[in-house]
């Protein structure tokens, strides 16, 4: 019971985002890509926000990008994050264009900067869900 109350919120995939989470479980970052205008978008929806086409498929992306902006939580909004503060929530702009909210791992919070190059890593929540997070790029 105790572990349930302190567990971080588990993503509850919507039907349209299920392929994203299925790919993440296999440690792949895959986003919807329009078959008409060939652009990626995020979060997953059933129509392309660039051209409104409904023809699309989930395609792997590079997993590389840069930090567009970020914030550092000092306040504990939910008990599950008490051990993590101060922690960084960042908006990462992928090289393919879309921006994703995420955490930045593997670097002290006060060394995170805008424009920093980052790459995806996966945080296994349980056997169903792995959460895409980012760390400083190796190269």
């Amino acid at each position: 019971m105790m572990s349930e109350t302190i567990r971080k919120p588990k993503p509850r995939p919507a039907p349209e985002s299920l392929p994203y989470w299925q790919a993440a479980r296999d440690h792949r970052l895959a986003l919807p890509k329009c078959e008409s205008c060939e652009k990626f978008w995020f979060p997953p929806t059933r129509s392309c926000p660039h051209c409104l086409s409904m023809n699309f498929s989930f395609e792997n992306v590079s997993g590389k990008g840069k930090i567009f902006s970020f914030v550092t939580y000092h306040r504990v909004y939910r008990p599950a994050f008490e051990a993590d503060v101060p922690y960084v929530v960042a908006l990462v702009e992928l090289d393919e264009g879309p921006r994703l909210l995420t955490n930045i791992l593997g670097i002290p919070h006060d060394q995170v900067t805008c424009e920093m190059r980052v790459e995806v890593t996966f945080d296994d929540y349980d056997e169903d869900i792995s959460i895409p997070k980012f760390k400083p790029a190796q190269s």
């Binding site: 985002s17 902006s69 909004y77």
Partner: protein
């Protein structure tokens, strides 16, 4: 690109605000947001020398979970309303209700419309330990399903802090700049007996405040308040013979960066830019004509970036502009002269309209009055950070 529009100049100066008031502000335990709003409207009717039966339009925003809130409100006021609806653009709703009132009155759908908003946020979150815990540990089913909570991303503070970080990165803006905004508005609140915040705030107090979501500390964040405000709008013709000096509605404008706060450059160039341009065009005015600005100050940074977007200084120069002392009473552009949402009370932009009207009446004592103020600009911002509205008022 969205197509250009022709500004509705024919609406300029057709209507006036003839009554305005607030409810009790700050901590008003045991009173619902609807009761606070009724209190503000009753006070605004008194201010205007009107009865509820003189009103034939009701425009409001409710708590978001309240269905068709204007019905509940008009029932409390004991009136049937010709023109009545509930707006749902968050903190941009309050100005939009005033604009909608002007359009309705100008085109004969109603004669006298009350616009208002009330909230009981302090009571819901702070009136007891139980209320605080209930608010802060909401069940998982009330959180976003995905793409936020799993990363520990909660709340409007973080959303706006993303913009602050980006602005600091692009333009060298600092927490000293944000702090000057908090300090200036606190100084204004000390002149306002109705303001919640009673203690002086220095820049060192600001820096000593605990961090919430960096770069924001506690003094960058607006208050949680019980508060309501109301204004009464009627035609400029009818306004001539009423109890108060009429305050003319000279212009308004709207824009919604509905591609999202995180899209494009929306977190550093807000929809205040286009909303402001539209309002200036309707009013036939520009930023140099504005004598006082009442800016939606949910967070300090939002004041700085909106001042740039409204053209009071160039993009990226907001830090220097606020550091000059411009925002203080006696400065180049006195802002949030009642203390704002940072230090008076937070009513999602409604109190900024009330204060704009009061400054245009020239009825304040000298230490609160913006000297010789003829034009006030008011901003509203909300709806997941992307909905924006602008109102320009002037002395008749």
């Amino acid at each position: 690109m969205i197509p250009d529009i022709t500004p509705a100049r024919e609406l300029r100066d057709t209507c006036a605000i003839v009554g305005t008031a607030t409810s009790r502000l700050g901590k008003v335990p045991g009173v619902s947001s609807l009761d606070l709003l009724v209190e503000a409207i009753r006070n605004a009717l008194d201010d205007a020398g009107l009865q509820a039966s003189d009103v034939d339009g009701v425009l409001c925003r409710g708590p978001d979970e309240s269905y068709s809130h204007h019905q509940l409100l008009a029932e409390r006021l004991g009136i049937n309303a010709r023109f009545s609806t509930t707006l749902t653009n968050g903190g941009a709703s309050q100005i939009m209700s005033v604009a909608l009132a002007v359009m309705a009155i100008r085109f004969g759908l109603a004669k006298t419309i009350v616009c208002g908003f009330g909230r009981d946020t302090w009571s819901r979150t702070h009136s007891s330990e139980e209320a605080r815990v209930r608010n802060e540990t909401r069940p998982e089913s009330m959180l976003a399903r995905e793409f936020g909570p799993e990363y520990g991303y909660f709340g409007a503070t973080a959303a706006h802090a993303f913009g602050a970080t980006r602005h600091m990165h692009l333009y060298g803006t600092t927490r000293d700049h944000f702090g000057e905004i908090a300090v200036a508005f606190r100084e204004h609140a000390l002149r306002n007996p109705d303001a919640s915040m009673k203690k002086p705030l220095s820049i060192s107090d600001y820096h000593a405040g605990r961090l919430i979501v960096a770069p924001f500390g506690m003094y960058d964040c607006s208050l949680r308040s019980d508060a309501a405000g109301a204004v009464i709008v009627t035609s400029a013709d009818r306004a001539k013979d009423m109890k108060q000096p009429p305050v003319l509605i000279k212009g308004f404008g709207f824009h919604n960066n509905t591609r999202g706060w995180f899209a494009d450059d929306n977190m550093v160039v807000t929809a205040a830019k286009q909303a402001g341009e539209a309002a200036y065009a309707m009013a036939g005015l520009g930023p140099r004509d504005v004598d006082t600005a009442q800016i939606y100050d949910c967070f300090t940074y939002m004041v700085l970036t909106q001042l740039e977007d409204y053209g009071f200084c160039k993009k990226g120069e907001g830090g220097d502009f606020v550091a000059s002392g411009a925002l203080r009473l006696g400065g180049a552009l006195p802002c949030n002269t009642s203390g704002g949402q940072l230090s008076e009370a937070h009513c999602e932009g409604m109190l900024q309209i009330v204060e704009g009207v009061r400054q245009m009446r020239h009825t304040y004592p000298e230490h609160r009055q913006v000297k010789d103020a003829e034009i006030a600009l008011i901003s509203g911002h909300g709806g997941n950070q992307v909905c924006h509205s602008t109102l320009i008022l002037g002395r008749a």
